[in-house]
Symmetry: C2
Subunit: 366 residues, 2 copies
């Protein structure tokens, strides 16, 4: 197994600094929907069986497509990302990962029946805790909630949020409403109460088209424009005052890119200066609030042709605490270890990027 | 009048280079809706009178608000931007403007009745031609069309598109659909046929919320996020192949900012490399297509605190032909002549910015 692992294209480059590595974006998934049955009440087991539901996984990563996962990441049984042993031998061991933050949404956001969504979120949380997190000290998990029902989402956070194996609560970037909306505040309040971050992930089935002018024709457009959805959500979170009202909350934008952030902060700061009367709770520059509370996973990188320009962008962020290393394992987007860190990043900035920022963000201490 | 003009805060800074100045964003408007009556068929004059319609101007610039226009730009009768003499003495004369490109939408995009929209567009075009463009050789106008009815929009372009006083066709950024959509192609074909540019302006009543996750709560968010709508439209125009199919077309993005463009091009280029099979008509890098065909008016500037960073952004555009000077007269956004050009821009780049790029874009020759 070790031989296979080191032969994979995503093995850690040998010239990397020997620092604490924290991988902030690793995908895990149940082998099948039946894997969740031990954690699901009989009512919902029957419902799934009788409805003939085989999976709630997003079509964006169809498990049968050879393009959606890194070659070799598919276990003998189940989809890529469903085998803890393979994760160890392919990712954690060769990369010398100290901590990996796992994500499993399993389509909970797309369920319209709120009672079923609540039950599924709970099942996913109990499944990942029992079958992944409890047995592997290098993993930390993300709480899935049914944001369709914010009060019960908060109750789910209260149920498991103090377990040290969980470090954040996931919210979809393509939510049913802007993430700053007051309806979501009980979720943020609960996350803050338990010291959890909010991870905003690049998915969701909120129902709105991905552009402000209707649905585009091509997947290319969807892929490029998901960065705009992150920007809209960030503007909402700041404008509604979420990051001021919940000062201990950290927002992690997952897989949304980051090169767009400096120009957005310029525009936001300037317009806030002119319109701040409208949002008096935004008590300082939006860019300051963002630097204090927002973190971003780096993969996939929006690379300019000249790598040094990426370093300029990082400089323009105005903080070396914001970016966090991620592999996106086992998704195909992560296919080149030489590109897993901005070329030229070095010293303290590189150490922060590879691990320190994530340890701080997720309060993982020393 | 001259004294008043030079005392205004937007007089041309004395230290500016003495070059051909082209102002690409000047707003004109009818004194009242009755000003359009001579150009409107009896059926629609009656309709407006009987319906008690007083104006179709956007609420975004309520004429009564002291904040929506530069002080002193309000004539004795009518709203700011409705008096050709005041435009001359306040803008064209003190700034030594060689050419000013005028815009007048007058709410045509928001009319749901397509026959009325077509009639109003025609009236606005005939009104501006007779009362502004024909009498002032420094002005060039923009054709208004009812994009609700693309075939008749093309017919309107055919009717007046060869008049030298018109240089572009206006389309709203917040259109009813992505601007690359095939339904709009007759408009682009007609514009290309008559050598007109397409000006995409920061407005429109397409009906979709301004974010991909629903309506935000505050105007601040609308103001910041209109830049996202421009980005979505640019991605659509490139992905649908409009700029390849109509190679002579130039797209001018009006009042949408530009600091977001370099990171968007990085992301777009990278994703196109992976997904180009889906859009085979996009035959070269999106950034190359954008540099060839897209131009942007500069006002309002998304300024970073450090002005030299704006020069870096301009360098990252990869072309000194894309940005065009604009005042946004008489809107209040333009309130500081020292900020009407990126600080530090000099030499050929400044000459291009102040006029040469617009002369090329609008085919205004020497």
């Amino acid at each position: 197994m070790t031989e296979i692992a080191t032969a994979l294209p995503y093995a850690r480059p040998v010239e990397w600094p020997d620092v604490d590595l924290v991988d902030t974006d690793v995908h895990i998934t149940p082998r099948s929907i039946e894997s969740l049955f031990p954690y699901l009440p009989a009512r919902w087991r029957d419902y799934v069986r009788e409805s003939g539901i085989e999976s709630l996984e997003s079509d964006l990563y169809p498990p049968g497509s050879p393009l959606s996962a890194i070659p070799g990441s598919r276990p003998a049984a189940g989809p890529p990302g469903s085998d803890p042993d393979l994760l160890r031998t392919q990712l954690l061991d060769p990369w010398h990962t100290r901590i990996a933050i796992t994500h499993c949404i399993y389509g909970v956001d797309g369920i319209h029946n709120p009672d079923w969504a609540v039950a599924m979120a709970r099942a996913v949380n109990d499944w990942q805790h029992a079958e992944w997190l409890a047995g592997e000290p290098r993993l930390r998990g993300s709480v899935v909630v049914a944001s369709q029902d914010p009060e019960r989402a908060a109750a789910e956070i209260d149920r498991i949020g103090d377990r040290p194996e969980f470090v954040q609560v996931l919210m979809p970037v393509r939510a049913r409403a802007p993430l700053g909306s007051r309806s979501y505040w009980p979720i943020y309040e609960a996350a803050q109460r338990h010291g959890l971050a909010i991870g905003v992930y690049a998915g969701g089935a909120g129902g709105n088209p991905i552009t402000p002018v209707g649905a585009p024709s091509y997947y290319l457009e969807e892929y490029v424009l998901v960065a705009q959805v992150f920007q809209a959500q960030l503007v909402s979170l700041v404008s509604e005052g979420v990051l001021v009202r919940f000062p201990d909350l950290r927002i992690v934008l997952v897989e949304g890119g980051f090169t767009w952030l400096p120009p957005l902060m310029w525009r936001f700061d300037k317009n806030w200066k002119g319109l701040r009367r409208e949002v008096p709770w935004v008590d300082r520059l939006p860019s300051e609030i963002i630097r204090d509370s927002v973190r971003l996973t780096a993969q996939p990188l929006d690379e300019p042709d000249e790598p040094e320009r990426l370093l300029e962008v990082i400089d323009r962020l105005g903080s070396d605490r914001m970016l966090m290393f991620s592999t996106d394992y086992p998704h195909r987007q992560f296919d080149d270890p030489a590109r897993s860190a901005p070329i030229g990043l070095a010293g303290e900035a590189m150490t922060r990027f590879l691990g320190r920022n994530a340890l701080d963000t997720y309060r993982l201490g020393e």
